[in-house]
Symmetry: C2
Subunit: 677 residues, 2 copies
Amino acid sequence: MEGKVISTTVGLDRVQVTDGFWKKEIALVRDTVIPYQWEALNDRVADAQPSYCMHNFKAAGSINQRLEHEEGYVQPVFTTNGFCVWPEQQKVQDEKFYGFVFQDSDFAKWIEAVGYILQQYPDAALEAVADGAIDIVCSAQQPDGYLDTFYIINDISRRFTNLRDHHELYCLGHLIEGAVAYYRATGKKKLLNAACRYADCVAAHIGPEEGKLHGYPGHEIAEMALAKLYEVTGEEKYRDLGLYFINERGKKPYYFDSEHPENADKEEDGQKLRYHYHQAHLPVREQTEAVGHAVRAVYLYSGMADFAGLIADEALKDTCGRLWDDIVQRKLYITGGIGATHLGEAFSFAYDLPNDTAYAETCASIGMIFFAQRMLKLCPDSKYADIMERELYNIVLGGMGLDGTSFFYVNPLEVVPEACHNDSRKEHVKPVRQKWFGCACCPPNLARLISSIGSYVFTETDDTIFVHLYMGTHMEKQLKSGTARIDIQSGFPWNGNVTIQVACDVQETFTLALRIPDWCRQYQLTGIDSAASSSCQQEEKGGYLYITKVWHSDTLQIEFPMDIQVIEADSRVRETIGKVAVQRGPLVYCLEEADNGKDLHLLKIDEDAVFETHRMQIATESVVAVKAQGWRQQAASKNQLYFAHERARYERATLTWIPYYAWANRGEGEMQVWTRC
Amino acid sequence: MEGKVISTTVGLDRVQVTDGFWKKEIALVRDTVIPYQWEALNDRVADAQPSYCMHNFKAAGSINQRLEHEEGYVQPVFTTNGFCVWPEQQKVQDEKFYGFVFQDSDFAKWIEAVGYILQQYPDAALEAVADGAIDIVCSAQQPDGYLDTFYIINDISRRFTNLRDHHELYCLGHLIEGAVAYYRATGKKKLLNAACRYADCVAAHIGPEEGKLHGYPGHEIAEMALAKLYEVTGEEKYRDLGLYFINERGKKPYYFDSEHPENADKEEDGQKLRYHYHQAHLPVREQTEAVGHAVRAVYLYSGMADFAGLIADEALKDTCGRLWDDIVQRKLYITGGIGATHLGEAFSFAYDLPNDTAYAETCASIGMIFFAQRMLKLCPDSKYADIMERELYNIVLGGMGLDGTSFFYVNPLEVVPEACHNDSRKEHVKPVRQKWFGCACCPPNLARLISSIGSYVFTETDDTIFVHLYMGTHMEKQLKSGTARIDIQSGFPWNGNVTIQVACDVQETFTLALRIPDWCRQYQLTGIDSAASSSCQQEEKGGYLYITKVWHSDTLQIEFPMDIQVIEADSRVRETIGKVAVQRGPLVYCLEEADNGKDLHLLKIDEDAVFETHRMQIATESVVAVKAQGWRQQAASKNQLYFAHERARYERATLTWIPYYAWANRGEGEMQVWTRC
């Protein structure tokens, strides 16, 4: 199987989201998250750690204007988690850098979300704010195109000396993503040009030629961003730079050793952590297991999938397939969470999926959606879209509070608030969403994903439209002789009724390929009478129903019954043995203390019980909840910790599940996804 | 109830261990551990981290001789875990300090074990080695009595400036314990005098008087050591110093803040960790919960119990009782392990007892035995002796390999080797015992406990002998008019048959108080015909059977049936819900991969099964194993991680349990104490 692209993305220029459920989410991003983020970028959110992001750009711009560095420069110091602080308290209005080395990317993620929103909802006021921000950012750019405020402010002579840890190439990647989105929305090229100039500057210093650094990013993303920049500009130099990063990665002697010779002779264990963490332990085409920092990993794999298609590289595509399967078959929580351990925010070993200490970072699930979309383009197999849907309706939706101003970085599958507060092994697990983070990757990442969600619904070939997600949308496709307008209406995630209206101004044959979700055993299609029309062909292939016919004005109805499903995990997952989870349609469910009382570990599912749905209001959201008769084990307590076992006694209890994404919107309480049966 | 001492210790001068099981353990300490430790103290164990302990004493002694410090002194650096290293590789034969700041205590624990061994097994060659070591140690002592090589070598002007972290008082405590043991064994006073002089030096610098430091130890042990030194020397100044440490602890403003003003204004969270870790968060009499570093905690509580008795302090005694109950009712593993989290080697919150990430340090269980013995002296309640027995037969025995040269620092209740190797959250959990540790607290602590085990069997009053542990022993008690000789023979831990022979050279009334173990519902006593002799009184009280009569030449037989018991935990322990453990007599049992195959999590106990015992050979040990028919859940695996739940299928399996203490003596494999039922 060649690595070539089978289908291509259908972007926001041709897709409008009309779906009630998702319009509400997008409106939350537009009306709440983006304004809130802008305040955060400017350090104006009370009770939240300052971002310093816009300050840093201003400081760098101001330094640029003076064209010389301050006298008596003092080195900053770094906290153990890499946050830059200054020896003594100084005013933010000075010309110093504050925050994480990757703080520039906060702006880039924000402008990317702004771009997606403006493309769908023109807004002159927001555009003016964005243009102002772009002016500030561009004022920081150096004459040779360099644009990373950490080094511009601190010591530009040391730039590109620590690709492993200092995120210059990560910031480049995000800048490109943001610039492309803003350009597509507004047609304005100022930021896009700045991103191109920064990429040119990087290419002038890093590459295969003698005298250049033979390096690659410590935190991947530039790979997929450069693929996109190539797509937008058509400039092969950007494709070549991204491909260089991919091909150079993991070669021996390790580039990171030449940067960090003090570590080069460390013992094997340290090396393992060091290189695996960055997915730089092996040349990428030799990698077979998803390892290390989960966000970095899936960002890299997304870039690899991009380039597998761009250069039709079969080995690269096969590698992506192997890594995908390793994640999905061995390292994925039922919610879609990946990265089981907080140590290194990393993948743990196969089948190690603890529920209460899970890391499962929101950004990693977003990265998994990027990866899925790219795999779909290479290979229209519904297994990729199934995971995209799982990530979207569970981790992504759950990563943001229903208020739009609180966020989860970590997405556990079991929470006992007392443990989060008292057990430092669970310090990373928060029982309620937080306002903002010093390391604010997740909230803006959520914003850019949700605001661009329409672009994940379809991919297309010349004669086929793939429908990967069932979401109310309007899209238009240019045919050979005319235009097809596709309108989808969907009851997702609450019911599986989907209506697809096709209106063609010409009569032309093309194919609609409709994904059959993995959770749906029997679907029902009406509105197409294939018997009546010998020219209508239906075929199921790779999890898609291909309907090929001459379309004119057709209305299909397809129903994917959302039965309540009781799910178990592979028995190699030790943490879920003897336990089951509830799923309905794309939604994974959970028990919350608010509905089921304390001590959720005492609850037990009755395997013969009838599961029923009902509507429930959670904050601003009306959700479909699930209810079943089950059992509550009677507490056994005898004024001593251990005593002779007696057969457990149970009393009847009604168990009520709510969608996982809606948890922790009613104050602090216990939650669990997996329940004993 | 007053805090006064009810009964007193019966030391090794009056108890000989004759028990086959325990003589073998003691012989292991005598013939293997002590020689091995001596090699370790002298950095002669291949493949083990050097101790540097004797080197440091030699270096300090050599500096003493020159009476001046070297020119061009270079500051050492510390690794993140507090290990002292030097900027460049230097020969050990120099005059520098190496290792942890508390490295001196390695010698002290060794000499303590040597003392206990020599008291029972005179050995001129060993005594000569010990005397030589003592000469080296004493050569390091300063003219004013100061004796801590870290500061003698590095910068004596800075001594007593970091009581919180730098273990000078911890080393004092261990030195006293070692010196007393060696003095009791040999009558030689050189080391005892050195310990007294060091205590005098400390008292000259720390105490209530103006101009002295109002401090106390960061790592407790000096308290109970000073109580012992007072007992041996009769010098009240040692009692006063120990009591000062206890009374001063936790007072505000915190002494540790005056030492570490840079931390004094840190936020509440940091303070909590800082003070709770050292049990210095509150004055000791106000403490109600066992918190912080578990070894430090139980060493402190032991010292508090000592002083509660010494000064008849009821409040102190009540505090000890409260803290005891908090541990035993809420924070104790079934094996006796305490300190559930490796972060801070500390107690976690109530009922938080995870099996696979347990810390449960060997030293903490040893400290719990110290605490139990002292509580028994204050209050002859069998609940203290029950825990002493639980610690002894499970964690203490299990802390050492059957070879006597490998040791567990951490004692988990569930091990999957793959997880230990691949999951950094379990880095502290070792699937097999280790040769030696840089921080070598546990092996020498085991040696001193096992070699003195005879002194834990009895306590006594004028007219009562309490038997707390059933162990083959010979002891003599001076009566008013003659001597009673008590001989105990015991089948523990394999059967509950105990024979007690009493031989008196006079006819005098006294009481034997025999502990009724908590695991024994019905015992049978023969050999005493209380009906025939109206002068024989039997009474059960506080878990002891008090037998009062005129003894002459009597043989009692008492049988404590060792039924196999299936045990459950309080249902607030989330990690053991739906699971049970097997116990027989004092032994907790576990399943090992060697007997039960891989994937122990798939096994299930049949609640109706008959449990049977059989003999099994494990390395050098013949143990009583337990067998029962149970179930193995059929592996569920469908080439995808999650799938529709089907009622689990089980196949018959024979489950074989071995005593927990004997685990990990047959190579690396899975182990679990708690099994599903």
